[in-house]
């Protein structure tokens, strides 16, 4: 393993984010800041399954229903593998409704309040049909079908078994088995979704401004569905108040807005409220996992088997399809451990619930939870420290090709574990834990070691059999006559600080400070085609493209400087805003080079082309970041309440471009993971009515619930990324739930109680204690 060396340039420095002054001063521009002639309000289904018999619209009101949208195609995402059954999602419910919250009609009125009044007056007559809410029930032969064409509600099914699996399992000394449950969650960005579509009579074009993570794909998708030329639609992502994946899937509502703007030849806006967001803006992580580990007598994992059932809701999300959860679980479940024998079945199951979409980490918070629980349970059986069993199983040689064929590049699984163990002083903790138990207080420690697959390009997505294969990113980099640099990117940051990070990468190559570099994103008219920001990809892929383009600009600047300074190109150094001839005091300001490139081209005598611009595309195979998280908790056994005392993350994201931004990503992810572990849960009743429709019921953590988070970094240099940076957007959320739940279980050990469910609510913890009823309770 090679560790990155300190770097003299901009990369590696925690410079302040260029994004922040605007946002802090309240000068950010969000979708809802745009004025619109009409407001749109959706009438949504109050039934989980039913047949619409009549929609009664009050006289004089404007309401669009499915019958108005005859020419509009349904959203029909496609996957070419794993027995995927394609299904369509109409923009407004046509005949059938399939989940509570499904849009049935769109009311158009001059104000939100009027639109709301009309929406309330619209009566939808409906024949109730049988609904199915739970994924395991949905798989039963007699279960009602959510879509007639999908037998057994099984929309996708993957299976792997490595050769020799049974033999490896048979050699084991001990088999450890667990059943785990992850309850449904909502990614809950601070800004709900929202769109504004404006028709321009002059050009006939529509501009859709919306809170999205993927403007270019949104444009392609909507123009495909509406049958209009792609160039007639411009999609703008202005400031976006968080996405976490919820905004990387196409919203039916946006399709309708564009259709309406064209029909009314005007501007229309819809701003989702929190209730709609909780009900209808995509859910995630509703999974059952059965996992089994076969270990030898030393606690070495010989064979791993799992059965994954993902409840994907009523429709399939575009572009990834709803297969993304089960298939990612299958491909990545072995995590950071060296295990050659693997068997997994993963199923995606339709139910009458809100559709699933990717959410920070996608399946990995759940599979990490499953695998890390397995490791702790095995440690208990072998009488080993949780850290020790991990030590015996983590991958240590690279490149490592996993049981599912993934190539793990250079990383530091073992080193981050040791770093975390050292940081928390494990022996001291165990002593303190013993003393506390004697006083009737229950502390616990939980580890979570994991790999975070990041920055993957087209080959990785193609392996899933997706119809739309994201992966590459392009940057158009130019320097104008005044020497200012513009970087136009297809990625679409929404809080990640990418404008700062990319500027740091570019600055080091071309010798101008980051404040002379403007990163332009989120506008299909002004940026090259790209896939947006999700899957911990932007720093790696857009960052890699930035580096490659900046190198081209750099050589152009050197060429111009060598000509103007009459020196050999190899002697030219770009630094501090000037081109210098090494070892002399001769130099020329980069601004002067820029001027010359546009206004004094005659001096180049045809040897150099006018202007300074370069494009580059980067499409890497992908790189694995890694970390070890440790949570220390106290459980109140009488109430089941959990207090997190301390949280440590030892993490390796390769070279850190802006360490402060990296820390922010990790801390935010951990906070979200803690919410997933303890608090957040979408609840449906048996009829498919959703009960968690406000923030009084769906509980994200507040500052009070988040402990101090201690971060440690390693910077492993990997060839898998040209910038040597790995992605870091999801790791916090991936690792934290497992660490917290393991810590709770460690605290509960004296009671013989165990909990394998997320979120581990106080009621569930208390129920686990009731179920175990060991003598320790009497001391409480």
């Amino acid at each position: 393993m090679t560790i990155a060396q300190p770097h003299a340039g901009w990369v590696g420095r925690s410079i302040r984010r260029v994004e922040d002054p605007t946002l802090i001063a309240g000068a950010g521009r969000f979708t809802a800041d745009l004025p619109a002639t009409y407001r749109v309000r959706f009438v949504r289904s109050e039934r989980a399954a039913g047949r619409i018999s009549k929609i009664h619209v009050p006289d004089g009101a404007t309401a669009i229903t499915a019958t108005d949208l005859a020419g509009v195609k349904p959203i029909r995402p496609m996957l070419h593998k794993f027995d995927y059954v394609p299904i369509g999602q109409p923009i407004l419910a046509r005949d059938h409704v399939r989940f509570v919250g499904e849009p049935i009609a769109a009311v158009v009125a001059p104000s939100d309040a009027e639109a709301e009044d009309i929406a309330e007056a619209i009566e939808v007559a409906m024949e109730d049909q049988a609904a199915v809410i739970d994924a395991r029930t949905a798989l039963a032969a007699e279960a009602p079908r959510v879509h007639a064409e999908v037998a057994g509600n099984l929309i996708v099914k993957g299976a792997v078994e490595t050769p020799g699996f049974a033999d490896a399992r048979a050699r084991a000394d001990s088999i450890v088995r667990l059943e785990l449950r992850s309850r449904r969650q909502n990614a809950m960005p601070l800004e709900p979704r929202g769109g504004h579509a404006a028709f321009d009579a002059g050009s006939g074009r529509v501009t859709l401004t919306c809170s999205t993570q993927m403007p270019h794909l949104t444009r392609t998708a909507i123009t495909d569905l509406l049958g209009m030329p792609e160039s007639d639609l411009r999609v703008v992502a202005p400031d976006v108040g968080g996405g976490f994946g919820q905004k990387m899937s196409l919203a039916t509502e946006y399709v309708l807005l564009v259709w309406l703007a064209r029909k009314l030849r005007s501007s229309v806006a819809w701003h989702e409220d929190r209730r709609e967001n909780l009900i209808a803006a995509f859910h995630s992580r509703d999974q059952f996992i059965e996992i089994e580990g076969a270990f030898d007598s030393n606690g070495k994992l010989l064979a791993l088997a799992a059965d994954v059932i993902a409840n994907v809701g009523a429709y399939s999300c575009f572009p990834t399809t709803c297969a993304v959860e089960p298939l990612m679980a299958m491909a990545e479940l072995p995590g950071p451990y060296d295990v050659r024998a693997y068997r997994c079945a993963a199923r995606g199951v339709l139910t009458n619930t809100c559709p699933m979409a990717p959410y920070r980490g996608v399946s990995r918070p759940v599979i990490t939870f499953a695998l890390e629980r397995l490791m702790d349970r095995a440690a208990l059986e072998f009488g080993l420290e949780p850290s020790e069993i991990r030590r015996r199983n983590l991958i240590e040689t690279f490149p490592y090709v996993s049981a599912t064929g993934l190539t793990f590049d250079e990383a530091s699984y073992r080193q981050t574990l040791e770093m975390a163990v050292a940081a928390l002083d494990l022996p001291a903790f165990r002593a303190r834990q013993q003393q506390a138990r004697a006083r009737g207080r229950y502390l616990g420690i939980g580890f979570s070691a994991f790999s975070e697959r990041t920055g993957y390009g087209t080959p990785a997505f193609a392996a899933r059999g997706m119809e739309i294969i994201p992966g590459f990113e392009t940057i158009d980099l130019s320097m104008g006559p005044s020497g200012l640099v513009e970087a136009r990117i297809g990625a679409s940051p929404h809080g990640q600080g990418l404008r700062t990070t990319l500027a740091q990468i570019i600055a080091d190559e071309i010798g101008v400070p980051p404040d002379r570099i403007r990163v332009i994103h989120g506008d299909t008219d002004r940026t090259p085609y790209g896939f947006g920001t999700f899957a911990s990809r932007s720093a790696v892929i857009a960052g890699g493209a930035s580096l490659l383009a900046a190198r081209k600009v750099r050589s152009k600047l050197i060429k111009i400087a060598s000509l103007l300074l009459e020196a050999a190109p190899d002697d030219i150094v770009l630094d501090g805003g000037a081109a210098k001839v090494a070892g002399t005091d001769r130099s020329i300001a980069i601004e002067a080079l820029a001027r010359a490139a546009y206004h004094q081209v005659h001096r180049f005598k045809g040897e150099i082309e006018p202007g300074i611009a370069a494009s580059a595309t980067y499409d890497p195979a992908g790189t694995f970041a890694n970390a070890c998280h440790v949570a220390i908790v106290e459980v109140d056994p009488e109430t089941g309440q959990v207090r997190i005392e301390n949280f440590i993350a030892a993490e390796d994201a390769g070279r850190l471009i802006n360490p402060m931004i990296v820390d922010g990503q990790i801390q935010g992810g951990i906070a979200q993971g803690i919410g997933n572990a303890l608090l957040e849960e979408i609840v449906y009743d048996q009829t498919g009515n959703i009960l968690t429709t406000t923030l009084a019921d769906f509980l994200p953590p507040t500052a009070h619930e988040i402990p101090p988070i201690e971060l440690h970094h390693l910077e492993t240099v990997s060839d898998a990324s040209v910038t040597r940076a790995k992605g870091v957007g999801e790791g916090g959320a991936i690792g934290a739930p497992a660490a917290v739940i393991n810590a709770i279980n460690d605290a509960l050990a004296p009671f013989g109680a165990e909990i394998n469910e997320i979120p581990a609510t106080p009621r569930r913890i208390r129920a686990a204690i009731h179920a175990a009823r060991k003598p320790a309770e009497q001391r409480a």
Binding site: E638, A696, L699, R763
Partner: protein, 285 residues
Amino acid sequence: MKPARFEYHAPTSVDEAVQLLGSLAAEDGRILAGGQSLVPTMAFRLAKPGHLIDINAIATLGQIGSKDGALEIGACVRHAAFHRPVVAGPLGQLMSTVVRHIAHYPIRQRGTFCGSLAHADPASEWCLVAVTLGAQMIALSTRGARTIAAEDYFTGIMTTALAEDELLSQVRIPLLAPDTRFGFREFSRRAGDYAIAMALVTFRLDGGTIVEPRVGIGGAEANPRRIPEAEAALVGKPAELTTFRAAAEIAAEVVEPMEDMQADAIYRRDLVRAMTRRALEQAAQ
């Protein structure tokens, strides 16, 4: 999440407010105090009052002070007024302890004590205080004034003995004897959330034994109430852990817990037991 149409009225005197309420109550005219419960319910259109009678401009309703052995709290006194003790002695201490559990700081700047009593959420801390300490509610209408005792005031989940045309103008809480001890414990999912269960206890000690115990439980049933069986288990007993355990066990048994997403009956009883014992231990310290 936009409220339905309503008309807004801003009277500047109690008389005017009572007159307006008298004439508009039939059209679902309602008092707007801090708005911290009413406005969210309107946003969800769970409430669609035809008229709002905003009492915030009525200066006299903002008064608070002690008179005739009782603390008098006017209709516009905010939760935040109790951050520091409002009267000398245990009552002021008790209220400044309890207030920290009500919602969050910004909400406490607007929400009112009387608004909480009018709203009568099962998990309202102030409702628990009122019923445990034997408060009196002063209700005004065009028909005159009347006093309602705490034990007659709460009639169900978010329902009270107040008539639709009555303004809760003031609440009176008897001051506590200087040697009164108190304990308060509540359990909620996150800091500032409504309690799933809470316990407020007071007693005095006479030579180490418990005198005049009061045990109030909130958040567990439709209304907060005193638990006489638990109080009986404390009277004349030494203030020690075994006594507290026994009383807490009784409280857990006699409550008839609500069931909701957060807690089934078994879990609520667990919480009542834990909160009661801890409140008693706190009072004894």
